[in-house]
Symmetry: C2
Subunit: 109 residues, 2 copies
Amino acid sequence: MDKFYKEGASVFKALGDPRRAMIVDMLSCGELCACKILEKFSISQSTLSHHMKLLCECGLVVGRNEGKWTHYSLSADGIARTKQFLCHITDSKENPIYKNMDPDQCCSK
Amino acid sequence: MDKFYKEGASVFKALGDPRRAMIVDMLSCGELCACKILEKFSISQSTLSHHMKLLCECGLVVGRNEGKWTHYSLSADGIARTKQFLCHITDSKENPIYKNMDPDQCCSK
DNA sequence: GCCTCACATCGAAATGTGTCAATATGAAAA
DNA sequence: TTTTCATATTGACACATTTCGATGTGAGGC
C-alpha cells in the first residue's frame, strides 16, 4: 500500500528535475545515444550518466548497448504506468480508503 | 524555454514525495481540512503544513480559509496542466528542437 | 480582554541530490 | 596488444529537502 505511492512517486521524482524532463522530451522523438544528449547540455559526462541511470532505474527509459555506445529510448510501458498513476491519484473518485471521512466530523461544530 | 521545463518539473518534484502523492490521492475524493489529513499520517503538524505549502505553490492544490480552518482541494486547472506537460514530454513526436539530430552523425562510422 | 484552537513559520539537525574531476570499464581500432 | 573512445563509477563538495520542536499568528469562544 505504502509501496504503491513510493514506486509511483519515484518516477515523478525522476521527472522533477528540469534537465531530466528535457531529456525525456528529447527521447520522445526517437532513440538517442548519450553523446547526442550531452551535446544539448552544458553538464559533464558523469553528470549526464547519473541522470540517465535515474531515468532507467525508475523504468521510464531503457538503455541499449551497441559496442561502446549506449542508445537510450523511452519505455512505452513505463510511460503508460506513469500516466496511469497520475490519473489514479488525481481523477475524482470515491476513494474507499477515505470515503468514511465525514467532513462534518471535524472543522465544524 | 528553460522556464518551461523548470515549471513543469516543479509539479513532478512535488509529486515525487510518496506522502504528497498520497495527500493528492486523498484530496481527489473531495475537499479536506488539514486536521483530517494529519490524522492519516504519523508526521508532525509543522511537517504537514510544509507539504501542503509545496503542493499549493506548484499549483496542484488550493487552500481555502474558513475561520481558523484551512480546507484543501485539488486544482482542476493545475491537474490539467500537469497531465498536459506529461503528455507533451512523453508522447511520440517530431520535436522541432531535435529533429535535425541525425542518428548517423554520431555513434556510427 | 484573555484563552484556546488550527495552522503557519522559524531554526536546527539529518539526510538526500546535483555536480564535478578523476578513475574504471569495456569495446573497437590501430 | 596497445591505444583510443564512449560510458559508468567513485569520491568529494555544495546545496536542497525532510523533519522536528518551539514559537508566531489570527480567528473564535469564554
